[in-house]
Symmetry: C2
Subunit: 148 residues, 2 copies
């Protein structure tokens, strides 16, 4: 898959949407960012380049992207209320959040597929999606703790 900007352009075209300067900035920023920003964080970042951008536009774009399955939103236990957006493409992956430094590590594991299959088998259900978040101390913070 190509970048977020390219893909969005294509889809906008297909559905009679428009590539505005604002959308472009949001998409670009999201694409560059190797992070899981909240809407506010994203907004603050882009604001430096376009002082007229409005927060509601950020939200609207984020929702559109989510609906298009180009990003996904999740709430980490840390920040109770704010959603964080996953710039990455929707190749299913999961997250580890360091409770000390707040770093987020993305990961995937075949065990997750196993988990889904096991559930389907045990409950006769169909699992279409999954989201797991691990919480703990990253390597660096774990070491720091040891040297107290």
């Amino acid at each position: 898959m190509t970048g977020l900007v390219q893909e969005s352009k294509k889809r906008l075209q297909a559905q009679g949407g428009r590539m505005t300067a604002q959308r472009y900035l949001i998409l670009q920023t999201l694409e560059e960012l190797c992070d899981h920003p909240t809407a506010e964080e994203l907004f603050a970042l882009i604001r430096e380049r376009d002082a007229t951008l409005h927060l509601s536009t950020v939200y609207r774009t984020l929702r559109w992207l989510e609906q298009e399955n180009l990003i996904s939103a999740r709430v980490f236990a840390e920040d109770r209320r704010q959603e964080r957006y996953d710039a990455a493409y929707p190749i299913e992956h999961h997250h580890f959040v360091c409770t000390a430094c707040k770093a987020v590590i993305e990961f995937d594991s075949p065990l997750m597929e196993g988990l889904k299959m096991e559930f389907e088998w045990r409950y006769g259900a169909r699992v279409e999606n999954s989201s797991t978040t691990l919480y703990g101390l990253c390597a660096a913070c774990k070491d720091k703790e040891k040297n107290l």
Copy 2:
């Protein structure tokens, strides 16, 4: 571990707290409920028995319980913003949410332990906690879909 009411009573005693009628109702309802209610849902339910109860009291009690590790809160992707409270004791377990009928099934699997260990090993981290939610169709809704 004993029930939520008993355990709470014990802890309140230990820390100079008080078992009020409101708390009692909330705890009892939470204990009986095999569900993952939102604060509002819980409130509505108890309201039938005590018309004077205030929503803020529900929130306060819920927060206290969470702090005491007697319940845990999570946001399912379904209802964007509301937290759902896990009446169950904090034996780690995970959730499946049916995207059709919204039923929630709790489950656990040794694979989750494996996942955590694998992550620790790969990243040198320490995993203390985890939360996974599976989304899909429960057996009943899967069947219903087939008969369309």
